[in-house]
Each structure stands twice: as C-alpha cells, then as structure tokens.
Symmetry: C3
Subunit: 351 residues, 3 copies
C-alpha cells in the first residue's frame, strides 16, 4: 500500500496532486478496478472506460484527450504504460525463492563453484566444473550440465534444463520447463537410414535475456547458437541450431526459427511466426503474427502473410482477395457481354 | 473382461441380446478388432467395415443403416461413440498412482495443509501455506509453489509446475510437463532496453478442467488469467496473460491465445489456431484448425483461414482462389478480344 | 585433434593428400573457420566462401566446380555433408552421462529389471515391472511409469517422461522434457459437459527413433500410437492418439499430427505443418513448412500451402495471387472499355 502522493513522487509528477494522502491498495484495469485501486489510461481508445471506472486514481498519458468532468484524481505522465510498470513493481508480491545455500536434496558436484548468495532449491542437479555467479537462484528441479558457466543475478525457474558446455550471461531469467542445448536437428540420408550429424557446438545466452516456459534452444552443429543481450523470448518458441539472434529482439509465443537463420538487432517476431533456415532478417525488421518468412527481410521492413511479403503488398493482396469471388462473377459477365457484342457485330459485317 | 449381456446392461440396451454370455476381452476399431473384442459403428461412413470386421460384437448407433446379413451380435444405442466411452472405462487398466501419503523423497513445507487421501509421489515439492484438497494425486516431480490452493480429486501428472498464488478447483487434471503461472510476456521499451512489466496477477483454473502436456498458462499482469469450468485443453497450447476462457471450451493442440483475449462459453479452437490479443470470441463460436483470428468473432460464428473470415466466405474465396490461375488467362483472352473488337470498330467509324 | 591424413583415411580418400601431417584442431563453416580448422563445401552456392576461408583444409563434394588457384589442401569426397558428419563424430566431445548403476537419489522399484551397464542419474523414477535393456542411460529426473519396456542402448535426457505401459525399442534417443503417453484428446458432449473418453491404449516407439525436446506423443484411445523405426522428430512436435508414423520419416519442429492420421514410409513434414485427423500421407510424400494438410496425400507427392495443394499448383496459385491486385485494375479497365464499346455501338444501331 502506498499513498497517492508517494506514487506521484515515484513517477516524478511535478503537478500538485489532488487527494495526495489517499491510500492506494492495488492496481487494476479501468474496467476491473475497485475503490482504493489505481488504474491507467494510455490511449484515447479506452477513454470511455475512464468515465465509468471505480478506480480511486488514474495515471494518464499526456497525449490522451480527456473530455470528462469526473473528479477522480489524475496523475499525468509521459507514458502511462511505462509509469504503470513502475507502480506495479511497488505492488508486486515478492517471488518466493529457495533459501540461500543448497537444499539438502540437491545434487551439486564438488568441482562446481558457486558464487556468494546463490540459492539452490530441492532436487536441483549441478554438474561437474559448473561455474555459477553471485546471487543466482536455481529453483526446484533445475538441471545444469557439466562445464556450464552462469553469470551473476540469474534466476532459473523450476525444471529448467541447461545441457553441458553452455554459457549464460548475467541477469538472465529462464522460466519453468525450458530446455537449452538439445542436439540440433541434423541428419544425412546414408542410403539406408538418417545418419545423425553430431552436434558438437554450444549455446551462448548474453546478458539480460529473458526466456519463457517450454522454450527449446538447440545446440549448434559447430560453433554457437547465440541469443543477443536484452532479447526477450515468449513461451513454446523453437530456436534451431546455429541461429543467431541479435540484441533486444522480441520473439512472441510459439514462433519457430529454423537452423542458421540470423536476426539483426531489435527484430520483432509475432506469435506462431516461422523463419526459414539460413535466411537473414535485418535490424529493426518486424514479422506479423502467423507469417512464414521464406526469404531475407530488409532492415526495418515489416512483413506479413504466408509466404511473408512486405506488409503493404500483403494488405493490398488481401484486399484484392476479399474481392476475388466478385471478380470471378464480374469476369464471367464481361465474357458474356463481349460474346454478345461480337454476335451483334458479326451480322452487321455480313449485312 | 465382461460378458456381452453385462455390457448391454451397462448401456441400458433393453432389446434382447444375442449371445449374451459371450466373453468380451477388449475393445478395438472395426478394422483392428480380433475375435473376443467388441467394436462400434457410429456413422454410415464406416458401415462397409462392419461387413469384414473380426469383432465378436458391435455397438451401433440407431441412425446407422446396416444393410448386412452378418450374424455378429449388435447392441443398438442412441450414440455409439458415447456408449464406447462408457465401455472403455470398464476396460481401462487403472492409472498407476503414488501410494497414499508422502513419498520419503518429497519436500513438503510444514505450513502446507493436505486433505485426506492425498498421494504425493517421489521428488514432489509443495511450498509454504499450500492448501491441497481431498484425494488429490501429485505424481513424481510435481512442483506446487507457495500459497497455491487446490480443490478435491485433482490429479497432476509428473513434473507439472504450478507457480505461486494460483487457485485450482476440484476434479482438475493436468498432464505431464505443463506450466502454470509463468510471468506474462510484457515489456515497455524505455529508450535503451525492454523494461519488464511486473506480472503481479495470478491464474484461476475452475472445476473439471483438463489440461494436456507442455501447456503454458501465464500469470496475469494484474487480476487473473482464468480457465472456465469444464474446459479441455490439448497439448502444447499457449495461453497468454489476462486471457479469460469461458466454461466448456475445447482448445486443440498447439493453439495460442494472446494476452487479454476472451473466449465465451463453449468456444472451440482447432489445432494451431492463433487468437490475437484483446479480441473477443462469442459463445459457441468455432475456429477451424490453422486459422489466425485477428478480429472479434460473433457468437456461434464459424471462422477459418488466415486472416480468419466467416467460414462460408472463406470457402467461397478459396474456391475462387482455385480458379485464379485460369481467371488470369481468361482476362488476358478477354483483353485480346476487346482490343480486336476495338480495331474492328475503329475502321468502320472511319469508313 | 587429428592429422589431415587421418581424416583422409577416415573418409576413404584415395588421392594423395597435400600436407597430410597438418594438425587439425576442429571443424567450422568456411566463413567461421580459423587456422588449424577443417571446413567443407558441398554445393557451388558457397564456392565463393572457399576463396576467403581461413580454414587449413576443406572437404569438397566431387560435384562442386572449384574455380580457384588457392593452395589450401582439399579432400574430394562423394558427399561433403556426409563426410563432415563422420569427421564431426571424431571431434565431438563426449556427452556427459550419469555414472553406471543407480544414483542414490533415484527411486527404482524392486520389481523393475535393469540390464547390464545401465546408468541412472539423480532423481530418476523407475516404476514397477519396468524392463530396461542393456547400456540404457536415464539422465537426471527421468520418469519411467509402471510396466514400460525399453530396449538396449537407449538414452533419455533430463526430465523425459514415459508414462505407464509404453514399449520402446533399441537405440532410441529422447531429448529433455518430452512426454510420451499422455491421454489422447477425446471427449463426447453428454448434454451438460465434455465427457472424457478413456484412453486405454499405449505408445510404441520402434528402434532407432530420435525424439527432440518438449515433444508430446499421446497414448492411443485403444490399440497403439506408433512411431516407425528410424524416424526422427524435432522439438515441440505434437502427435495425437492413434497416429501411425511409418519408418524413416522426418518431422520438423512444431509440426502437429492430429488423431488417427497415418504417415507412410519416408514422409517428410516441414516445420509448423498441421496434419488433419484420420488422413493418410503416402510413402515418400513431402509437406512444405507451415502447410495445413486437410486431405490424403499421394505417395511421393509434394504439397504446400494452407489448405495444402500439390506444390506446383500451389506455386501457380501463389504466382497468380501476386498478380491479383493488378488483375482487379485490369478488369475494371476492361469493364470501362466494354461499356464504351456498347455506348459506341448503341447509337449506331439507332442510327
């Protein structure tokens, strides 16, 4: 709980605050908020909800045009979404963590080195020669294979699996059930069977990466599969061997990136996107949800569809597609008219 | 093993049963059944297989028109598929479960409360202040975070992960490897990096829900992500933060529902469907497999395609699409004819 | 490390080798290779990289036409990719495995029988009457349910879950986090709720199958879900109940196969492919990435698109689709011309 003035101070709101001593008990959407809660309004789209909200205070983006006479206290900020993230952090209940040290049921090899403040939960396994930095949290059932290196301040949620020889930076968060370092999917037909191509490479996860649940990031055939610093990956994403993801990318749920594809800096992949093997996506490019990208994408380009095309072209084609059944009818009628015209003309010529 | 008459009684078949004392040893499809096994026929589509089946008896839906003189005993019922489910339950071998009480290797916090008849398998972890109802089965390696509440008669298969503060109803079944309560995927670009928006909400799973394997259901940003009573979810499904799924929905494998989307009652999503964030699907609406739904869907509407459209329109457009290459040729020929007509007319006018 | 001549011998290269005593320290792509490393060139497509590579030797496919005067030692082979797999195996660091015998924290039922040389890692669970063949490796946290049979020389990576009554052949590799034997997704609406249809069947995995991470293979309704010998399955794949996959298939990441579908021998499914329930794909058929297959596929056919069509037709339609917006414009102009022609003709007739 915080008083409203404390929230205003937190957000560097300089304007005087009405009812600054109001006690704020929680955070909710305009629609769901109850008395005592604070809400937020970041776009004109939801302005109508402002008129009926039960929230006791609202954080509003500067750009929103409020046409209302309601007396609810308002904190005007540059970006209400960003402000809300700051406020939420104050109301967030702490994430439960295993106690510092090692749980009695954990199996930690003697040759592993653990930094200060490390918390190791029940049934965790830490392999030989693993190096774990400071304040790392390994929740219950996490598996760390031999010769893995982990930086400082990482948190791996229950049952995360990091196979052998992988390198992970600092402040990396990996959510429950994800698997790093499975063999890449590589075979050669030898005339009788699919012969396995050994996958002798590894995986590098740079600083400040966050990885969702049930994500698979495969080990490289040789060299590394790399996830660049600050990149965020949602649940159930597949990243093939030798993929290189640049810094600050966003990869939404169930997207798949096939082997050796390269994403530049700040690339955004929507949900269920598929990226073909060996192609390159330029810096700042965006791929709309459900698209299948079969060719290289230019920097800053926006693509959509299956196969993916520049988004404008895709929209133009979709619009034409909507008219296609009518077009078929129109062409049939044209055909009839022309046949008629020809019939009309033919006798004339004979006559 | 059951005698045929016992099966007839189970299905409330009042007609006299031929060979009622026949011993039935198992259940199989018409195609695969061997002597001693019972099979079923629910649609005219498979009627031909009835003529050649080796099954010793067949359960047949009333509506099926059997044109055969085969002497195999038949039990006529309203709905053979439903009847088969009843019979299968009698032949189902029991699912092995850990012994009642706690396995010695399980880690259960003292502040957790366990109902009567609870079975806790090896390497299970149960956090602080967890409340577990009666007859709940936690298979090997299940993780239950702090402050979770679980109703009666639930069964969680190996390695299910339920993060902190989640509420689960009664008779909920969660299959192996699923993860509930991962942080929703929410960030704000702060000019230098993707700043994490704290996800302080929770997840509510209502009564009689069944969840497949490797399913991810994310924690709400605030308030709850909710799965309505009686809803069934297949494997590898992604459910984003703040999603609300109504009662009695069916969500088929690899479907994904983006943040804050809402499904009404009895909604059906086919396999690999994608639902855009913040949209609403009305009660009883259906989405065909592989569709990508980008806009709200009316109650009882059936949509398909990418982007999803009303199914009839989608079919009409697909049919037109099939004719598109021919249409291109047809238009080229029309163009030629018209050019010819114009050429024919032009001299006339001059003349 | 190997000398170049040893690599030549390994590949049965009969031609004399330049610098045969050169010490080779590793393997890399032409682009990434450093001095001391060997690389490979399997197609003319990458021939330009040959001119600038820092590799100390290159394995080249016979068919590649090298137009270069570079003095780097070359080993000419039939198939450079296949040769590379052989060389990689020599450079592959050994996969770390639990020590032979059972880890003290593993829970193995007395009625389980373990073959010679079995390695059982920490926190593994092996159920009642399980039979495990020789030299099987069960990594940390693996769960094997009651009455499972496993052949010789299998390796299951951390946290693999094999539910009760499943049969697995020899030399089967299952990667971390996969789940075999979850109930198939089957319900019947009983008027009030989705009644669960018991799934009393099982799963059979034949010899030499490899299964990626977070793969779900469901238990049959009755009889078996079967994966044929030598088939390879990538990560995050969903295989429904009663599916039958033939021998030597390749199933790429995030593909989904719905219930009772049948794949013949040597079928290839690209990434994110969806296969409808109850359909059949003939021997040697191929499905392009992202396709949704709604109907049977002929042997050796190649299909693509959503819904999937023969690949040639699909390409023809896509090409026509690219021209659709122009076609709309063209038809509008034709319409104008015809209207003009009619107007031109009409007065004539009156005149």
């Amino acid at each position: 709980m915080l008083i409203l003035q404390a929230i205003a101070d937190l957000l560097h709101v300089s304007a005087p605050v009405v009812s600054g001593d109001l006690m704020i008990t929680g955070v909710a959407t305009l629609e769901d908020a109850k008395s005592g809660e604070i809400s937020f309004l970041a776009s004109d789209q939801y302005a109508r909800q402002f008129d009926t909200t039960q929230a006791s205070a609202v954080i509003v983006s500067k750009k929103v045009r409020l046409r209302t006479t309601r007396a609810v206290p308002v904190l005007v900020v540059e970006d209400a979404d960003l402000a809300m993230a700051t406020v939420l952090a104050k109301f967030a209940p702490p994430v439960p963590r295993p106690a510092p040290g090692r749980h009695a049921s954990a199996v930690v090899e003697d040759s592993a080195s653990l930094g200060e403040g490390v918390c190791i939960g029940p049934h965790v396994v830490v392999g030989q020669r693993v190096r774990v930095g400071r304040n790392v949290v390994l929740h219950a059932g996490v598996f760390i294979g031999d010769d893995v290196t982990i930086g400082d301040d990482c948190e791996f949620f229950p049952h995360v699996i990091v196979r052998e020889r992988i390198t992970i930076g600092s402040r990396v968060m990996i959510h429950a059930g994800s698997v790093l370092g499975t063999d890449g999917f590589g075979y050669r037909w030898d005339g009788k069977s699919h012969a396995k191509i050994p996958q002798i490479g590894t995986v590098v996860i740079e600083d400040d990466v966050e990885i969702g649940s049930c994500v698979c990031i495969d080990r490289a055939k040789f060299a590394v599969t790399r996830i660049g610093r600050g990149t965020k990956i949602d649940n159930l994403v597949q990243i093939g061997h030798n993929v290189r993801v640049g810094p600050h990318c966003m990869i939404v749920g169930q997207a798949g990136i096939a082997g050796s594809a390269q994403l530049g800096a700040g690339v955004v992949l929507g949900g269920q996107v598929a990226i073909r093997d060996h192609i390159k996506l330029g810096d700042g490019s965006m791929v709309a949800a459900c698209a299948g990208v079969m060719e290289n994408v230019e920097p800053k380009a926006v693509v959509s569809g299956l196969p993916a095309l520049p988004h404008r072209q895709s929209l133009r084609e979709q619009a034409a597609f909507r008219r296609l059944p009518d077009l078929v009818v129109q062409v049939r009628k044209l055909q009839e008219k022309i046949d008629q015209l020809q019939a009309t003309l033919a006798p004339k010529e004979q006559g």
